[in-house]
Subunit: 411 residues, 2 copies
Amino acid sequence: KVNGDRLWSTIQDTAKWGGTAKGGVCRPALSDDDRAVRDWFVAAGREIGCEVFWDELGNVFVKRQGKNKDLPPIGIGSHLDTQFTGGKFDGILGVLCGLEVLRTLHDQGIETNAGIVAVCWTNEEGCRFTPAMVASGVWGGAFTKEYAYSREDPQHLRFGDELERIGYKGTVPCDGNVNKLSAHFELHIEQGPVLEDEKIPIGVVVGVQAIRWYNCTVTGQDCHAGTTPMHLRRNALHAACVMIDALNSIALRFSQGVSTVGVIESKPGSVNTVPGFCHFTVDLRNPDDEVLEEMEKEAEKELAEIATRLKVTHKFERFWTCPATKFHPDCISAVQKSVDALGYPARTITSGAGHDSVYTAKLCPTSMVFIPCLDGISHNERESAEKVDCEMGANVLCNAVLHFDAQLASG
Amino acid sequence: KVNGDRLWSTIQDTAKWGGTAKGGVCRPALSDDDRAVRDWFVAAGREIGCEVFWDELGNVFVKRQGKNKDLPPIGIGSHLDTQFTGGKFDGILGVLCGLEVLRTLHDQGIETNAGIVAVCWTNEEGCRFTPAMVASGVWGGAFTKEYAYSREDPQHLRFGDELERIGYKGTVPCDGNVNKLSAHFELHIEQGPVLEDEKIPIGVVVGVQAIRWYNCTVTGQDCHAGTTPMHLRRNALHAACVMIDALNSIALRFSQGVSTVGVIESKPGSVNTVPGFCHFTVDLRNPDDEVLEEMEKEAEKELAEIATRLKVTHKFERFWTCPATKFHPDCISAVQKSVDALGYPARTITSGAGHDSVYTAKLCPTSMVFIPCLDGISHNERESAEKVDCEMGANVLCNAVLHFDAQLASG
Ligand SMILES: NC(=O)NCCC(=O)O
Ligand SMILES: NC(=O)NCCC(=O)O
């Protein structure tokens, strides 16, 4: 069993990098605070005798050797970056539990068959640089390295430049076929209301719903707010608002669908000028790829109708497609065995959020463990989880990894 | 008659300060380009022997002496600042015609009874610093000097600091009861479609419609775009969009009403976070103060209903009230006499845009002259006007001022 007090104090201590007045964390990927927490993670890994390295995308690997040098290590990964107004747990818990597992194995002098590696994946959140999970995505072969490097933040700073600036552009190939893992396990807060509602401390995650991201631009014509009669306007912001309301309604009509506009900007940004331009992002999700496809078709149709009716032109372009993921039965069963052995209440669950595990699953057996979070709230400074749940989750994770390692050993 | 070629080349030449690739002008108030065009205006005034000074708000006065030193001068004013994506004519034409009138009087050695002063009013547009017409407003007693100084631009730079930075914070009181005018005339492009539609080159402006500006903030709760079911969201941006559509519909239901949301910002600005905060501005106008009051009441009611229905809180706060203005019969008749004497086709018209003349009208007889602009478009880089119309407008302005001066002389 892990050391719950140590895990909890590590969560609290490291939250100082990017810590906010409201008790949250603002630590966007590749910021100075992201560098600071990475520096701490590297030092903590070395302290327990681990080999530490990072790859071309800045993914940091803290590796404890196993007996069998021929086997790729088993990864326990997640991310240390946060949303602009994020919490102390989203992603962070998974990395710190990876470290806690290594510390526990170290303390107890446990030798594993394969090595065990705690991984901090770069830019999982996708808030500073879109899309989300871009660095685990390069590792898993979903994106090229060049694509990731070229992504720009809202200030037009490039991912590649910022990675270099914070000193985490390594030379180890970011390629899961080269820098291999035998499996990948990830502990995460659920970020939704199910476990809390049902008072169940552990979710055995069997998959992740499908996600698609879009940019929508709307072009009308700048004109004077006082002199231009309503019927002569081509108001890009008004049209965008009607579109955003339509996108919201689409989600309500498709079972389990969600739809979100998280970013909007309108130009020229003057009180007395009717905006001639508007850009917004769209996030559509559904557990079922086919239903998501229908949601997209519906969105395309309705946005086009609105554009025509309101005399603006528009472009609705998908820039990220993340199909529904089914986790690997061996990993799911390792987690289930771990839960059973520990005697914890648990249920299976599908994730509404994307995770680095979606992309590791493309190249190695993968699954996840969820624990409840307060009111199901995440991507919010109020995000919170109980110490006891974190500790139970870490125990499940540790034993799942040991189960999987034993299975590897037995061939 | 004025020198139309000189006027036209002055318009073209001075458009270099803030000139854009699309042929427009981006010269927000108190920017470096605003300083550059002011420096030119000051020098041009001195070149024809005028006294030049600026007041506490940076309003620049270029004054040609009259015979009767006891009479306050007659003002011909407008503004040299532009929208972020503005044109070469809005405001600029009025100041340059003021200068052209002084140059014409100078060339022809005409002595007037009262002095004639060309005025460049500061920050008429209200795009960098809200509200519009703030400096003529201080002169006219609608705002305090301190209020104007405290206004902040989108980067939180203060009006007072920026005025000092560009070197135009003078010591002459910005107070129309101290630095008096006998009257104020302003030439402007119509910024709307009426004159062009009717092929009439001159509008005799009899008044300006009422304007009200508001800030609306909407507060919900940041949450995860993938894990939060639609019915549990308190989406501030979605609620704002529904409100913006409602505000648009309100304008359609009130005769001659217009309604515009020109600025929107949403936080935290992440693709996968449901926005917990949104701010937008509202501009409501109507020629009739009472109808505008009804539009406001309706907006208040509908916004409150939407907030309740969509489980967000909101604040809808008016920060600028500019009642409908009726110009002075003596000034209107001076313009009408001028038009008649010149034999130009003309019609009376009410302005949909606010102008510095709205605030000079509070302390001295005031009226305006309109000329047509291409497709009625303004607050757009495509804004355009014909040379012949500018010249005719300047002639009307010049003769209106001389008519008014003659009337002053005859007591
Ligand atoms: N876990 C998490 O919040 N990931 C961000 C990716 C997503 O949008 O689901
Ligand atoms: N003339 C002009 O565009 N003024 C700006 C003030 C307004 O919004 O009407």
